[in-house]
Symmetry: C2
Subunit: 314 residues, 2 copies
């Protein structure tokens, strides 16, 4: 699982940080999942090693402009490129209206299908939002000025590694039977011998997990959805000095993000959605936010645009 | 009058050219007028020497996404900066719906006033769209797949230069009377002498004029609104080799843009809105479009992002 940050600023773009967007590349698939889509996200794709045409799913946390204003242009450009087989959109209820109205008013017709999925029910009833044989996505309500939702992507537990050398030593002839054994099945060879896949497979391998948590002030549901995740990406709009403003505006301080990470017992924390006030050289700068979080949760790093993280279970 | 290009690509952004936007700085005013606002226009402001907070008027040529998708973010960012006293928006009828719906769906309230002006009537009836003591704006219908409008900004003729030395030589005491003379008025001094401003003023100075013409295929109304303009900015999506496609999609070739410039007898032509297919290194590149136009209208140049042109009458 690979994560690429395309926008890490809060509210407005700066010279070095665009507004929110993050891309997840699920393991062993040539597809991309986009989380939030601030204005200029399609421009960030051009500057990255990622392809717009590979986007299959888009998850929107909430309807503020710095998380959605890049959607109409991104969807239109994917349409002009003509290579999409369809996109599934997950987000709050007004998302469909927003997209429909933008496309209608600009006389745009997409040459591929858009499917909308409201996330409120899955979030409030703790239902699984999406699931296939390898991955599942969960969502949880956050605490912001408008409805806002966290997303968690879990890679499912995979079968143990297949010991091909052991199978060869037993004189099992290579062929489709190896795939059956790899899945742990019992097979009967032509010579009558019977083998169980289990004797050639290592222990099941747990999958990796990533949580994307923005925009929100400190909230228990963020802890709940983040439990034992390999990676928690959490907003950190402010430093602890602006705690009052954080509560007022429904945003987190670096301290709050670190507390969520610590209480949820995650493996690593990445801070994103930094207020543009923290430019290097100002009284408080992004590194101060990093140090503030590290004092509580040491395995923390700062997001920056185009930062790419590979998540693999050791 | 100063013109700055912020986006010169057609349809989709490229690494070097953003989608359509152009900024006009009227003479001797600390305000900016924006023409079209493709996605990422606010990002281009950050990279330029122009300030978002100085935008007073926005003119939209037509409702295609590459000309309007930057508006919601730009208007929201101006609101967050908190320094606007209001913006006047000129464009086709659906513009208000588009903005209202984007702001509503993203729970955005602007802390300044937005005033919408539909341009259809002024364009079809050849009425003046806007006028004050120094400037006037006209508009004309173009020929595109959806309603599209050209804009012309005329600086009005200014009084001749005031010869301050001549007034001093006549023994006229400095004071408010100089301003009266400068406006060409007749004044009576305390000593009883009477002077006419005319004898201290040079000949009236004609103003400069700029026409912004996109998106459109070749059309007579583009010639009409461009007559004798100092600067014609005309779209040039395609080379003459794609003439058929140009008619099909309602766009101009470089040849068409040059023919408009020649027939309207403008002073200079700038080509913009280039198809991303013409990247340097491809079979046809932007310089080929430039040469194609120059063969018909020699005083032509290519727009590029951040190109800045000062228009002054000699």
């Amino acid at each position: 699982m690979q994560v690429t940050f395309l926008g890490t600023s809060s509210g407005v773009p700066t010279l070095n940080r665009n507004v929110s967007a993050m891309v997840l590349k699920p393991p062993q698939r040539s597809e991309l999942w986009l989380f939030d889509c601030g204005e200029g996200t399609q421009h960030q794709f051009i500057r990255s090693n990622l392809k717009l045409s590979q986007i299959k799913k888009i998850f929107i946390t909430h309807m503020h402009g710095d998380h959605i204003y890049g959607l109409p242009g991104l969807l239109a450009s994917i349409g002009l490129a003509g290579s999409s087989s369809g996109i599934e959109l997950y987000g709050p209820a007004p998302l469909k209206n927003f997209i429909d109205s933008c496309l209608y008013n600009s006389s745009s017709r997409l040459a591929y299908s858009l499917k909308f999925h409201r996330v409120e029910n899955a979030a409030n009833n703790k239902e699984i939002l999406f699931e296939d044989s390898e991955l599942e996505v969960k969502t949880a309500p956050l605490k912001h000025r408008i409805p806002s939702f966290a997303y968690r992507v879990n890679q499912k537990t995979r079968p143990g590694r297949f010991d091909i050398e052991k199978a060869k030593l037993k004189g099992i002839p290579p062929g489709p039977v190896y795939a059956d054994l790899q899945r742990g099945e019992e097979v009967r060879l032509e010579d009558g011998r019977i083998f169980s896949g289990k004797e050639f497979c290592g222990p099941p391998r747990p999958g990796v997990s990533m949580v994307y948590c923005t925009d929100t002030v400190y909230t228990e549901s963020a802890i709940e959805i983040s439990r034992k995740a390999d990676l928690l990406i959490h907003e950190s709009t402010y430093s602890y000095k602006e705690t009052e403003m954080a509560y007022e505006r429904g945003h987190s301080t670096a301290t709050m993000a670190a507390q969520i990470a610590a209480k949820a017992n995650v493996d690593q924390l990445i801070l994103t959605h930094l207020s543009p006030r923290y430019t290097p050289g100002n009284q408080t700068c992004p590194n101060d936010l990093l140090n503030e979080a590290k004092a509580i949760f040491p395995n923390t790093q700062l997001a920056k645009d185009f930062l790419q993280i590979d998540l693999n279970k050791s």
